[in-house]
Symmetry: C2
Subunit: 457 residues, 2 copies
């Protein structure tokens, strides 16, 4: 694209667009990257410069950009029919996707309720759990529990169960009351991490839940959790033992376990779903992002049969779940999701990405010796580290240094789309990333890291 | 599709899918219609039987199904790039669509914030309005006002400003407190409707708002309204004078006017936006459904420059609008929306649909002489009527008769997708519907109506 046209588009971008999660004033001085092409893990700007999409376009992309089978699936579906209503009417892609989701997700989830994005998948879960208890005669069970540092989306219901104050504190007067429990964030152990101390920290976090449940389970509808990794809260990877403990407590005290696998689902953590690391099944499961391989909006909330059964009655009993969105079960999105699942099978995507994940492990180890780096961690194709002025004592950089933002800008110059969360630098790689691409990404990142931190040392 | 395959899919549908807004037990006895093809206003089931999509697949479809230019726009965009993140990165379809939305919407709206569906467009509006007042030092302005009978979506924030108890009452403990004002529903006048009485009813409804604003404007962030027609609340078409009055009151008392044109936008009411009937501009505008011509999920929330400006500051001042969804600004959806706007221009869609709307007026008049019919009403390509046991006295049918559901089933046999709201029968036609199609639809509907009501008379 010629420079004049680029300039025109950039001006219009500033004039008309309000970008998400963006302080638009930051953008006065620094152009957004104008993308013109995407292929595999690579994005190309309007000058033809390439960037690694190291965060899979907000943790969505699975098989790389421009996958020919996905494009063909869209074309094929459009030849049949485009969007139709999913109430009163039904269609093959919506039905077959539901069947396959029930098959690939953890055991015991039997019904699929579609919506459009992660936030709505969580809203559906909350409303479903809430209405369930009302309809089985336990009307006092109206409260929800969430974890410190958790993030479940940006609609008011999802924000109400969010634990990251930066995103949530402002809207307090609009939120319903929910109860916060501690995160089993093993980084709290600092340099004192041992398996024993980790186990003790998990036990303490579970004790807090147990105490709460013992006192108030009769008022609690559900607890919502990001299995294995609290992503937006700082890529907090925690032990599977916590999930196993939570599953037991929820069963014992009759509280729904709601697993938000919007980010972790579809292979990113090395298993198809993060719950598999703990060998558990939730009562309600939220999916989006990777569901369509990151191509287009679609979400699903799955639940156990007993939840569905509590809504299934004569119309006059008024037990219908009155929730829906115009584009629920969009046939094109369902066709894409089906093709993505076929790709998982035909190309043994999970098995293939294991080799890449092993390379990522090796490569992440090379960060540990770099200055300012602490808490290098990884799960499947996700890896993260934290930057500190003094990593020994976990003394942070002054916040006005905006280390993460500096890493972002320096990353662009090195051909990397990084998007640090505060001073946490992370990768969230497409499953198609090859070992040699990972080596290249890490090498570039380490150049960026040295460049950003050297003047501050 | 052969019968065996159909049977298999229907069984899987019942086994795996939880459809939106559906009492699934209703579906035990009656199959959902399995759609296999769609073209223009017609849907075709797996036996090849055709149905008029008289409600535009939940009020979404604009140019008919399978429009070749829309399909080509999707193909073209996929050849360039599929989904990429819209933060830090930007792209031509997202930018150009924002520019065009600012141009085609009512004056004074300058910035576009994308999301995925009507509910999220409303959530964005609520959070934007709320945070605005916090940031300009009017922290007490935290409450929202909504109209009786209104519907703004199904996420917790949207439900909080909803006025249809069937959808909303159940979730009361999760909702924020919002203030209900009367709907200027002129049907309340029954057979006594005259222009003078309508004007008085509108004046009363505005008086209620004025009284509220006078007492509590210092606590009010915004009032949300469906311009001209409360759709899910029963296709309540109200006088434009109400909107003009509301616009004045909001300006006078410094309360945001939030227009939810998710359903009414993009030509359905005979104007590009329903606000144009009253010649007003809101402070915040919510769009979805017709935005992509009903093809795929996309939404936008537009606002005035002064709202945007209250968030534009140095990052450290913490005024960033922390809201976003993974698929925000999806390039394919933006490309579709751009193509739809090109279709509006190239094919003079609004002008063309005027002829159809005139036919609809004539045809709707033929309902008035039928038994059980009252309050025949119309606005552009939307038309509705109510069924009563005795229309003179507005005595309803017994609710367990489920007249609407009977109309739906009898409609299917006559090749119509009707989806009554209670005993309100309505059309929400694609703008491509031709006059002769309208005549055919009305003729079939009248057959259905006679068939359903005759045994009840």
């Amino acid at each position: 694209m010629d420079r004049e046209r680029q300039q025109e588009l950039r001006e219009k971008d500033r004039q008309y667009v309000w970008h998400p999660f963006t302080q638009m004033k930051d953008y006065a001085a620094q152009d957004h990257v104008l993308i013109e092409k995407a292929d595999g893990i690579m994005l190309y700007d309007a000058d033809g410069k390439s960037y690694y999409d190291t965060i899979s376009s907000w943790w969505c992309n699975v098989h790389g950009h421009g996958n020919p089978r996905i494009k063909e699936a869209i074309r094929r579906q459009l030849e049949q029919f485009d969007h139709i209503m999913f109430s009163g009417l039904t269609h093959q892609p919506g039905i077959e996707l539901a069947e396959q989701l029930v098959q690939v997700t953890p055991d015991g989830l039997t019904k699929v309720f579609y919506s459009d994005n992660g936030s709505t998948a969580v809203e559906v879960a909350i409303k479903m759990s809430f209405q369930y208890w009302q309809q089985i005669g336990q009307q006092s069970k109206t409260n929800f529990v969430f974890m410190e540092n958790s993030y479940h989306g940006d609609t008011i219901g999802a924000v109400s169960v969010g634990g990251v104050d930066l995103y949530h504190a402002m809207f307090k007067p609009l939120l319903f009351n929910a109860i916060r429990v501690p995160s089993p964030d093993v980084r709290q152990l600092g340099n004192e991490r041992t398996p024993e101390r980790e186990a003790a920290l998990v036990a303490d976090a579970l004790d807090a839940v147990r105490t709460l449940f013992r006192e108030r389970a009769h008022e609690l509808a559900g607890i919502i959790v990001e299995p294995m990794i609290q992503a937006a809260g700082g890529m907090v990877i925690y032990p599977a033992a916590y999930l196993r403990g939570l599953r037991e407590l929820c069963a014992q005290f009759n509280v729904h376990l709601i697993a938000d696998e919007v980010a972790t689902g579809f292979g990113r953590t090395g298993r198809m779903f993060a719950c598999e690391h703990a060998g558990i099944s939730p009562d309600i499961l939220c999916l989006s992002k990777g569901l369509t391989a990151g191509m287009m909006p679609l979400a699903a909330t799955l639940c156990r049969e007993e939840i569905y059964a509590a809504f299934y009655d004569d119309y006059a009993t008024q037990k219908t779940f009155f929730h829906g969105h115009s584009f629920t079960g969009n046939p094109v999105a369902c066709a894409v999701a089906l093709e993505s699942l076929r790709l998982f099978r035909d190309e043994a995507v999970l098995e293939q990405s294991q080799a890449a994940a092993n390379t990522l492990t090796e490569q992440m180890n090379t960060f540990t010796s770099l200055p300012h780096v602490a808490d290098v961690r990884q799960l499947g194709m996700i890896a993260a580290l934290d930057l500190y002025r003094d990593p020994e004592t976990r003394t942070p950089f002054a916040s006005d240094l905006r280390i993460g933002t500096r890493m972002y800008h320096a990353g662009l110059a090195e051909g990397l789309i990084l998007r640090p969360l505060g001073d946490t630098i992370y990768y969230w790689l497409p499953l198609c990333t090859t070992p040699s691409q990972i080596e290249d990404i890490v090498e570039r990142t380490q150049r960026v890291l040295r460049q950003v931190t050297a003047p501050l040392s």
